[in-house]
Amino acid sequence: MQLALFWIFSILMLAFALGVVFLRNPVSSAMSLVMTFVALAAVFVTLDAFFIAVVQVLVYAGAVMVLFLFIIMLLDLRAEKHRKVRPSAWLGGGLVVGGFMAAISQVIAGWSALHQTKPELSDPSFNDVAGVGFTLFRDFNLPFQIIGVLLLVATVGVVLLSRKELK
């Protein structure tokens, strides 16, 4: 059952991921990305990682992509549809994708955990929210705080840069 679900959601995820790249309408691409996130969340659920799954939907599908869609809808989509892709862009994109795939396959080939099956959770009612919370705020508190400050600095920087009149 779990295996069947894994295949269903992985295939959905990959199909929509292809849609992000190949669909010509930017709104369709954005919506495909939303569906990719939702399918990815479903794969997390089959791994009993409910918290990660929900955060995936909440943050990416529910917040980030809404803003993306917001921006895309303000673009002139007709001009976007008729835009020609130059051969140099094809070449550059192909190089990047090929290099990335080569690097990823290198890593996967040398990854010992790949051939282990996932051990069953000893306690099915394990509270993963508490687990993530304790790990983040107790064991890795300092790195977490530093990342928080980093994000705050970035936000302040964006606000400053987006102001029209810089004195």
């Binding site: 709104v27 918290f51 939907v57 909440l58 529910g62 869609l69 917001f70 809808m73 993963d128």
Partner: protein, 393 residues
């Protein structure tokens, strides 16, 4: 092996009981939606000193029963209307947008505990330990339906409605999410059924004075001294002080829910005077009906979340052990379901009452309220709750 044995196997049992619960809940909710529309029209009429719909009764008989047949007539009218599709719309997204706005509202219901148990089956479709986060995640997807409807209609007013709606929903989602954190800090869990049980034992979130060990037998015996003693036993300073952050949470959550469901006084996305019908201007027939259904289903689901988090869920007030006098198990389960829906209906009437009483906000006022007042207040509220929990025993 006969059919009954197969039905009672754990996995099979889970499948068919879940299916039965889903179908039953959906049927109740859809019925509730159509009668909420009727209540909206009727209450609005009373507030404006009119009569409201009072003609439609049982078909072919001439019996009017105060217009209670109106929802059936409305549904038939919408079903039979021509589904007119304007030229130049983006057909795919135009078709899919009304469904996208309705589905998330109904999905939220999956984690709401709507009763204690019937025949030993817990009355919640999916008891997940991340309950509330699921509610936020799914309801945050509801904005796509509205945005896509506005964009796909290829028309100015719907587009402005869609843009307004998406920024409004994103702004108020923050306040909505932050405002409930004190509730989890007090209960120590994210699971909705556990939050309901906690409130049954220790008092509703918005009602800190609670009796400890009060039972129906004690109430029926009429011993006022003993009843008063249960209240003094249930008294604690921490609970009274926690009332402050809980009331702040409740008010922010309630008002943010108005904004999330696009209800007046925050119904800017469909402000008639400025935007005609807003995002559903170009829809007719069933498409329009689905938007309507989605709005009311979201209202019911939102009321369900408020009831579960702040108003004790399905539990009968003031009885910590949940017993009912002389009522056998199955009936007691039905009473609990009734209590849950009674609380929801009370909230729905409040929603309607507010809509026909408070004038609409201006758009900049709405944004200011969300970002300058509620966001900060919800943040400070978390610290108040943490302070009370840590230092006052």
């Amino acid at each position: 092996m006969n059919i009954l044995n197969v039905m009672m196997q754990p996995e099979v049992f889970l499948v068919w009981t879940s299916l039965a619960k889903s179908i039953g809940l959906l049927a109740v909710i859809l019925g509730l939606v159509s009668y909420t529309v009727y209540a909206e029209r009727k209450i609005c009429a009373w507030i404006q000193d009119r009569v409201g719909p009072n003609r439609t009764g049982i078909p072919f008989t001439g019996i009017r029963i105060q217009g209670l047949g109106q929802p059936i007539a409305d549904a038939l009218k919408l079903l039979l209307k021509e589904n007119f599709i304007p030229a130049e719309v983006n057909k795919f997204y135009y078709y899919i947008a009304p469904k996208l706005s309705m589905v998330p509202a109904i999905l939220v219901l999956a984690v709401l505990p709507f009763g204690s148990s019937l025949f030993g089956i817990p009355m919640v479709i999916a008891d997940v330990n991340i309950g509330v986060l699921y509610v936020f995640a799914v309801s945050s997807l509801g904005v796509y339906g509205i945005v896509l409807a506005g964009w796909a209609s290829n028309s100015k007013y719907p587009f402005l409605g869609g843009i307004r709606s998406s920024s409004q929903m994103i702004s108020y989602e923050l306040a909505l999410g932050l405002s409930v954190i004190p509730v989890f800090m007090v209960c120590g869990t994210l699971s909705l059924p556990e939050i309901v049980l906690w409130q049954r034992e220790n008092g509703w979130m918005v009602f800190p004075i609670w009796a400890k060990g009060l039972t129906w037998d004690l109430i029926l015996s009429g011993d006022i001294g003993a009843i008063a003693q249960t209240f003094t036993a249930g008294f604690s300073l921490q609970r009274i002080l926690l009332w402050v952050p809980m009331i702040i949470s409740f008010v922010i959550f309630l008002i943010a829910m108005f904004a999330e469901t696009n209800r007046a006084p925050f119904d800017l996305p469909e402000a008639e005077q400025e935007l005609v019908g807003g995002y559903h201007t170009e829809y007719s027939g069933m498409g329009f009906a689905l938007f309507f259904l989605g709005e009311y289903a979201a209202m019911i689901a939102g009321s369900g979340v408020i009831v579960t988090l702040f108003l004790g869920g399905w539990s009968f007030p003031l009885i910590p052990d949940g017993s009912l006098p002389g009522i056998p198990g199955v009936l007691a389960g039905l009473v609990n379901i009734g209590v849950f829906f009674a609380k929801i209906i009370a909230l729905l009437i409040f929603f309607i009452w507010v809509r026909w009483t408070v004038p609409r906000f201006r758009y900049d006022q709405l944004m200011k309220l969300g970002w300058y007042v509620f966001f900060e207040l919800a943040l400070v509220n978390i610290f108040i709750a943490a302070f009370v929990l840590a230092y006052i025993k």
